[in-house]
Every structure is written in C-alpha cells, then in structure tokens.
Symmetry: C2
Subunit: 398 residues, 2 copies
C-alpha cells in the first residue's frame, strides 16, 4: 500500500544531528556532537537502593496503572520545590510527564492549530522545533545574541504575526548557544508577549546545573498574567533514561492537558517517579546537584581555556554559566557547514548551527561544542585540531 503521510509529519526532516551521530560512534572520532549529561553524575547506587526498597514495600503501587497527572507525592513535592523559586501554585498546576520533550508535545497539542505561528529563539533546541513542526506550526525564528533574543527582532516578529500562539525559549544555558537570557531581557520579553497575547513556553532542562554566575528567577516566577508554561526535567539531575520531567501551567488548562496525556501514553512510568520522589526527599539532593555542577564546571572551564589558547582570536564563542554546550561563530556570518565538515575529516565532530534553525535552509555561522561527554584528554586533543583549523580558515579568508 502507498501510504500518504499526514501533512504534519511529512514536513519534518530526519535530523542532521542523527546523521552526524552515526559518525560519532566511530571510535577514532572525538565527539563534541552529543548532548548527553555526564554519566558520572548518575546516582547509581542510590537508584538501586530505592528501587529495591519500593519493590519490597510497595510493589503493587509502583507496578500497577497510575494516574495520568503523575505520582501524587512527587507532584506535591515538585510544587513545594518550585514555589521556593517563586512559582505560584495558587494559579498554576503541575503534571509529571515523560521528559521535557513531552511537556512541549502536550502544550503544543493543547494550543497550536495547523498553520498557527510559533515564535522561537533561533537557533533553538531541534527536538522542540520538530515537535512544533509535527503539529503543522509555522516557525518564525528570532535571532539569538549572547544574552538572549534580539528584542527588536522579537517585537517585529510579534507585530508581523498576529496569529502567533507561543514563544519558545530556553532562558538558562540555551541549547545550542550556551547563552543565558539576561534579567533585563527576560522582563522585556515577558512584557512584549503579554502585550501581544502570546504565551511563553519556558524550557528549563539545564536550570539546576548552573555552575557559575548568579541564578536568575524563572520567567514563570513573575507571571502575573498567567501566560507562561514552564518545563523542567529529571534527565540532567537524575538520569535521562528515566524519561521524566514536569510541566507548570495555568490551572485552567488542567483538563485539556491531562486529556492530551491520557490519549498519548496514559501516564508516565510509575516506578521511576517513586525513585525521583524518594531520592529528592530522602537523600542529599542538593549535595548531589553540587557534585554534578562541579563536574560540568570543570569540563566547561577546561574546554574554554583550550579554546582561549588555541582558537583564532576572530572566532567568537559563548562562555556558559551552566548546561552542556558552547557555541562558536565564524566571523562575518559565514556558513559554518564547510568548517564543520573539515573538522569531521580531521576527526572532530561538532554540530553546525543550521541544524538548530527555524528555517532549515537558513545560514548559520555557528557550530555547537559539547563538553559533558568527552574526556579531558579528548577535549584537549579535539580543541587542538579545531584550533588549528580556525587559523587555517582565517588565513584562507585573507
């Protein structure tokens, strides 16, 4: 049978990153292409201990069907946890969902019709861009600067797109740029969206792994108008394979988002929700986060020091205060794809910025480097190679 794909899915391309990952499995390739958290941060012994205990004490409730809304004690605990960051649970509710990716999926399912505009940081996390695409949204990119979106471009995009439904952003240690949206920009972005009646989807998978600078309150903490969705993840603070995250949203949307969850996958796995709850309430979670932050702090500092020493001074790059990524930019807005290909030929994998763009036919001078997965030694060798290439590249351009 010749299947006709739905309009929503036929518009989505296989990801460039997945193609690149095939290169990354070559054991001779130094990969700065990944996006996984560092496995040394997983609390393996504690996870084993908790699972053993809950399967003994409470086997039925961790194995039987559970609630679509999530394991109630974990829901309640996460509300208390986020209330301390300033989020108001008089006006908002919280669901435990299958990772931050599903938070994005269900908000889009509930709000975005085919043909609606979704505004997005540009470049942005490709996983969520693809979610918007699979609901037939039209993506409109707002160019990124080191401290967040270009505000004039955001205002122009809001004016030009009265049918915009959502603005997508990662304010902390953005993927792919590594940059953090400043306090001033957060306030202005909020005011602009509120004035235009556009909801904000605040994706914060990396917020807990800030390793330098001053923590900024989530945009959701100042959401007097009730326009912000806030998504967090257990992937970087517990383990990605748990596939658990949480979504905060205006209370009046509880029914439609819960119906979306039910009709998508009923509920998220219960055993691992118990693990998150027991770990956060019965172990030293803050100490665990501090250890994880120390791992990323060290790795990031090492990569930045190598880049400072070896990259041509005309190559600009971000200096992350948390998260997993640095983005470097070729001068003059030149397409980074040929440079990335040369890196791969020399044995170092990075991801060209175009992979993260709202318009996949666009041009990006950026390339993304991940520091959480490679070893220190791989970082040194890889930046040696890329550094030499930046000098070659700029010598050729003269």
């Amino acid at each position: 049978m010749d299947f006709t794909l739905s309009r929503r899915i036929s518009g989505v391309q296989g990801s460039i990153i997945r193609e690149l990952f095939k290169l990354g499995v070559d054991p001779n390739m130094i990969s700065f292409g990944g996006g996984n958290p560092s496995a040394e941060t997983f609390p393996v012994a504690e996870i084993a201990e908790i699972i053993d205990r809950v399967l003994k004490d409470n086997p039925i409730s961790v194995l039987q069907y559970g609630l679509s809304e999530g394991y109630p004690p974990l829901r309640e605990y996460m509300k208390q946890y986020l209330a301390k960051k300033g989020i108001d649970f008089e006006k908002n509710d919280l669901l435990i969902l299958s990772g931050a990716q599903q938070c994005c999926d269900l908000v889009t399912k509930a709000l975005v019709n085919e043909g609606d505009v979704v505004l997005t940081e540009d470049p942005a996390f490709i996983g969520c861009l693809n979610t918007f695409r699979t609901y037939g949204a039209k993506l409109v990119g707002v160019p990124m600067e080191d401290d967040g979106m270009d505000l004039a471009a955001l205002e122009a995009a809001l004016e030009a797109n009265p049918n915009a439904k959502l603005l997508y952003m990662i304010p902390n240690f953005q993927n792919p740029t590594g940059g953090t949206t400043s306090s001033e920009k957060r306030a202005k972005i909020y005011a602009l969206c509120a004035a235009h009646g556009v909801a904000i989807y605040e994706d914060d998978p990396y917020g807990e792994i800030r390793f330098s600078g001053t923590p900024l309150p989530p945009i959701k903490a100042g959401d007097s108008e009730g326009i912000v969705f806030y998504a967090g993840s257990f992937s970087k603070v517990m383990a990605p394979a748990f596939r658990l995250g949480y979504l905060v949203f205006p209370k009046e949307l509880l029914q439609p988002i819960t119906v979306g969850k039910q009709s998508t996958d009923v509920h998220s796995n219960t055993l691992l929700q118990h693990v998150c709850y027991e770990y956060m309430t019965g172990y030293d979670f803050e100490g665990h986060l501090e250890k994880a932050r120390a791992v990323y702090r060290k790795k990031c500092a090492h990569m930045l020091a190598e880049m400072d020493a070896k990259f041509h001074p005309d190559i600009h790059f971000t200096r992350p205060e948390g998260g997993l990524f640095i983005m470097a930019y070729l001068p003059g807005g030149k397409d980074a794809q040929p440079f990335v290909r040369k890196g791969i030929e020399k044995g170092v994998l990075t991801v060209p910025g175009v992979a993260f763009m709202a318009d996949t036919n666009g041009v990006s001078s950026g390339f993304r480097l991940n520091y959480s997965m490679p070893s220190d030694e791989q970082i040194t060798r890889g930046i040696d190679i890329l550094g030499a290439l930046t000098h070659d590249y700029l010598a050729e351009k003269r």
Copy 2:
C-alpha cells in the same frame, strides 16, 4: 490570559470512566468498573532481581539517553517472538514504544489529517477513540456483534467514507465487549479494507492472555498487502506501570514514525526495556503467562457462573476466551445508563456502553464488567446485587 484551545483538544470530553472511577474509590463500592490487570500476576521478585543486576553490570546503558527506536536486543527479540506468530519482518519493522496507547498515538500522528475518517469497532476502547479525536479525526462506528464487527455495516461505512484512513479494532477479547473476532470475519475485514485502500490498526493488548478456545493468528500475519499496523503491550504480561509496548508496521514508515517518537518523548524508559528483555529471555516467560492465564480463567469462570445463575435470562452477555471484560446487554436495545446508575446506588460499579461509543451521544444497551480486579467474594456479592436488579428491571418492563 484566555487561552483558545486547539480544535483537536477542545473536541475531547473528560472520560465518563474517570468520573465513575471516583465512585470506585469508595471502599463500600464493589467495582467491576476498572480495567487493570490483576496485581497478583506481576513478577515482582524477578523484576527486582533483574533491576539489581543490570544496575550493577550496566549502569550507564540503562540510565543514559537511548535510541528512539527502542533497546536493540528487545526490538530484535520481539521480532523473533512475533515471527513465530506468522508476522513477516522482511516487509515490516518494529519499535518499542510507551505502551500500546502510544503506538496508536504515533500511527495517527503519521497518517491522519484533521477531518480524515477513522472507522472503528463500536463500542471500542475509549483511550484510542480519544487519540483519534485529539488529531481531529472524524470517528465512524461499525456496530459490534459477539464475533466481531457487523460486516454489512463495515462495507457500507467503507463505501460511504472514501476519505477513511484507518480501521481500528481489537480482534482478541475486545475492550469493552470481551468478544473475539472470528477467523472468517478477520479474513473478510482484511479483504474489504484492502479493496478500499484503508489501513487496519490491529490493537492486541490482551492477545497473550487467552485462557480458553483456540488462538487465532493476528490479522497482521496474513498482511500480503502491507496495510496492517499491529500493536502489543507489556502491560498485561509484565506490569502496566512500565509503560512499554511495541508497534509492527510496514518498513517504509520507519522514518516518519521514528521522527514522531523523537518529537513526542525522545525514547521510552530504558531500564524497564532491559527488564522486559532479560525477563523474556532469561526466565520462564511462558510459565509466567500460563500462571496469569490461570488467574483470569478462574475469575472469568466465576463471574460467568454467577451471572448464569443470577441474571435474568433475557440479559445477554459475552463469554470471553481471554482478556479482562464481559459485556452484558439489556434487551430491546434500551439505554443501559439508568440501570448502571441503579447498580451504583446499590453499591456495584459497572461502565455503561455509551462511554465506549464513537458517538458519545449514542445509545448503548450494554454495560461492561471487569473480573480481573475484584476478589472472588466481591464478584459473588456484586453479581447477586446486579442479578436482582436485572429481575427488577425486567419485571418493571412488563
């Protein structure tokens, strides 16, 4: 902010069943309203043993991000397992997904545009009906008989709906009717759909728990035209809270369905995929299934014997060969809702058939009884009460 819900989600009502479940938590209520597998069938000790082992032997691979397609050894093993039931993996592929519910979600995402028709057994599993609704599909019901759909009605529906994309069915021990589609009907349904270019979504969550009669090959096993999607679940053979299932589909759809999975929740939880694989390959899985079947066989036989003895003879009901449900019908096609409400007043919860209909304003004379969750004693007492009500009901009608 006043949110405007998407068209797809605003059409979906909260489920009648969820409202009824609130009554079911009353400890004085005898609930035949649920749909959970019997907790005594969960292999708790083996699950604990496997998790302990894989977290020791292989912590990173069970906790780190995994493949969207599923854990490769489990994928391969399930292909071998299903090949023995006659499914061809030259022309088909298989993904491990988050329960059979997500199989339905992703097939609908990939194939069904807003306004497309989905034909369905009527009544049918409400979870999947709601999935179709959340993609804006128009549902057209085909009335059920004890041995599967009314074929004349199916043919008429196919003729009347040239834009039908999918036919949804549960051939084994259907939810809610408990009936099994006969071999003859399977062949005719397949031929009719093939002739009309309509794909079949064969949902088989209960197939492994056949406790009487002769197993019938899945429709997918005779899929010479490549039109059948086949979904199975680990919920009834391992544990529902795992949220794991598998989808078999024509190979050429691997890319769009994988993209749908990525953009929905990246991948399914890895630790529990390892548990399924280790349990199926290293333990007595067939012996485990036999024990589970014995539990359901006994419970079903007990409920049927009580119904034979106590229900008014004018009340027809199905005699399941597997699964979790019996459906009983009031005579003369009369709406069962008042009868169900009377049962609730007397302390016995069942689900009215209308909850499972394509047209939620329709009329159903059926009510669904679950035998997997109540105790033997609850079954006896509950059928006593319902049996007396059937006699009252028919006395009043005279």
